[in-house]
């Protein structure tokens, strides 16, 4: 059953197409800029850019969750977030390892994105046609989610490994187990925004700012992991920028909560109408 009475068609101020461009564009620019700057300058301090790109992808994913789940999927919000990261991790692994096999590790991100989106579309089609969800934007939503998941995995994994090479990903992210935090933090960054704001008076800007806030928290988490794999300077930069961004977005989110809530009171009894 639906818990919150969904957002019913999910009215939105920012168009999904625009958010898709920001999300995918931001992720690709962030990851490639980090990879190019790091390799050209022979450093790893630009890894934060990839993590920031992953936040953009996660926000796009959060918007896709909002659109799909706006059709009355309440208790399914956490599941769809996990599904996004599950599809994303398949896409990311496929893309990076294929690129390594072909000898063009820089192309891995693009291959992963394309593969993940096609994969997401197929899963969406199966969900709609075979399982009978009958949600008009299911295919589109899962395409977005799968792409967002793949970009989130690659971006945050890059912030830990400091390299796009599949071998480095395996040794620094998979074998150390840091993939676990990328997976679960990434999943929460995609599912938490809509889940936390579920209800008839949900607003898109509040949900997306929540996404930015949780995404920044994930940046702090991968920053903590990169203490073990990258230089201390790079790790500290990631942690400090992530924490500053988290604080900024949390304050912003609280401002929007005060704007939207019926009342924010220090203490008190129930509203007079309910006593």
């Amino acid at each position: 059953m639906t818990v919150g009475g969904g957002a019913g068609g999910a009215p939105s101020a920012i168009d999904a197409k625009k958010l898709r461009i920001y999300g995918i564009g931001g992720a690709l620019v962030g990851i490639y800029l980090a990879a190019i700057l790091n390799s050209v300058l022979g450093t790893d301090i630009f890894s934060i850019l990839a993590a920031a790109g992953a936040v953009a992808a996660a926000v796009m994913g959060a918007n896709a969750v909002r659109r799909v789940c706006g059709y009355g999927i309440g208790t399914g919000v956490p599941s769809i977030g996990m599904l996004a990261l599950g599809m994303g991790i398949v896409g990311a692994s496929f893309g990076l390892s294929t690129a390594e096999q072909l000898g063009v590790s820089m192309a891995g991100v693009i291959i992963a994105l394309v593969y993940a989106m096609v994969f997401g579309y197929i899963v969406g089609a199966i969900a709609n046609k075979v399982m009978g969800f009958n949600i008009p934007i299911m295919e589109e939503g899962l395409t977005d989610l799968s792409g967002a998941g793949a970009m989130a995995i690659i971006g945050w994994s890059y912030a830990i490994s400091g390299s796009l090479a599949y071998a480095d990903m395996v040794s620094k992210v998979f074998n150390t187990g840091y993939l676990a935090i990328v997976f679960i933090c990434g999943g929460l960054a995609i599912l938490h925004p809509f889940n936390a704001n579920l209800g008839p008076d949900e607003k898109q800007d509040r949900t997306l700012v929540n996404g930015l806030m949780v995404g920044s928290l994930a940046v702090v988490a991968v920053g903590l992991c990169s203490l073990a794999t990258l230089s201390t300077t790079a790790a500290i930069i990631t942690i400090v920028i992530g924490a500053a961004a988290w604080y900024y977005f949390y304050v912003w989110y609280y401002r929007l909560v005060k704007r939207d809530a019926a009342a924010v009171v220090g203490t008190g009894l129930l509203p007079p109408s309910a006593l």
């Binding site: 676990a180 949780v214 988490a221 903590l224 909560v257 009342a263 509203p271």
Partner: protein, 301 residues
């Protein structure tokens, strides 16, 4: 099998028992998981309340996040900075508790702000004193589970081949799943519907008609934690403790490589035994207390 391994398995069982109990109470203080849908519905059917609405996700992913966060921080501190394990795990659990605080407060703010039309207010005093209680319980859960993961991967022989954060992720998912299925019934089925006879089931008509007033004043989530500490928490602890203990016991007593058949057979034996015991408990309760007043016979679906 040696004495040290058996001692470690016993310690893991004890840690798991504590983790299970704190996990369930943590979710109950915040009304997470199954009981959350009733807390969410309450305002929508005209019953605004002063109960915490911690809609983070289902308990399994949420607890996986706390446990994994604690584990990655501890793992980093142990491997990179050679910090003593106990300190490292305590610091990791503290980071996990801070993460928990962020998720909890943002869910409380967000869910209640999205119920503007039902006049559900946001009470800051509730945020102040309930969130800290939630974070404290999350700290205990994360600490215990990371200790289990550390024992499995670093001390217990043979070492588990998976890395520590992944083990923590799996145990986090498990403790969440067990808390969700064992402990939540005590809160969602009984505490929220105290005025109904327990076991009658919940009629759709009663959705959202939760108890909002306490013995004195308005009920809050700390009252619910007090109630759930009596049965829900300990039972969840027992469930999770047994899962961890029995599962590791059979692979410690029987070598998983040379005596794999015996280890698997023992696992099957436990499953069958527990099913029989469950069947016995259910039938004896039905005999003792049922049929419930108001039971009109099974209705064809």
């Amino acid at each position: 099998m040696d004495a040290l391994s058996m001692g470690l398995v016993a310690a893991m069982g004890a840690l798991a028992t504590v983790a299970g109990a704190s996990e369930d109470i943590e979710s109950d203080v915040g009304s997470q998981s199954n009981p959350n849908s009733q807390v969410q519905l309450a305002a929508q059917v005209g019953n605004p309340h002063r109960i915490y609405n911690k809609a983070i996700s289902g308990e399994p992913p949420a607890n996986a996040l706390w446990a994994t966060t604690a584990a990655v921080v501890a793992y980093t501190l142990i491997t990179k900075f050679a910090m003593p394990a106990l300190f490292a795990i305590a610091i990791g659990a503290s980071v996990a508790a801070l993460f928990n605080g962020v998720f909890s407060t943002s869910a409380y703010f967000g869910r209640n702000a999205s119920q503007r039309r039902f006049n559900q207010w946001i009470y800051l005093d509730i945020v102040r004193y309930t969130t800290t209680s939630i974070m404290a319980h999350a700290w205990i859960t994360a600490f215990c589970i990371t200790c289990i993961a550390y024992i499995q991967t670093q001390i217990l022989t043979p070492h588990h081949p998976f890395p520590m954060p992944v083990i923590a992720l799996i145990w986090g998912l498990t403790v969440g799943a067990i808390g969700s299925s064992v402990g939540d019934i005590h809160y969602g089925g009984e505490r929220e519907f105290q005025w109904r006879l327990f076991g009658q089931g919940l009629n759709t008509m009663l959705s959202g008609q939760i108890v909002r007033k306490a013995e004195a004043g308005l009920r809050n989530s700390i009252d619910n934690a007090w109630f759930c500490t009596k049965l829900g928490g300990p039972l969840t602890g027992l469930g999770f403790g047994l899962t961890v203990f029995l599962d590791n016991w059979r692979t410690t007593v029987f070598d998983p490589v040379t005596q794999a058949g015996l280890a698997i057979g023992m696992g099957l034996f436990f499953v069958i035994l527990m099913n029989l015991y469950n069947f016995y408990v259910e039938t004896s309760i039905r005999k003792k207390y049922g049929p419930y007043p108001g039971y009109k016979g099974d209705i064809a679906a």
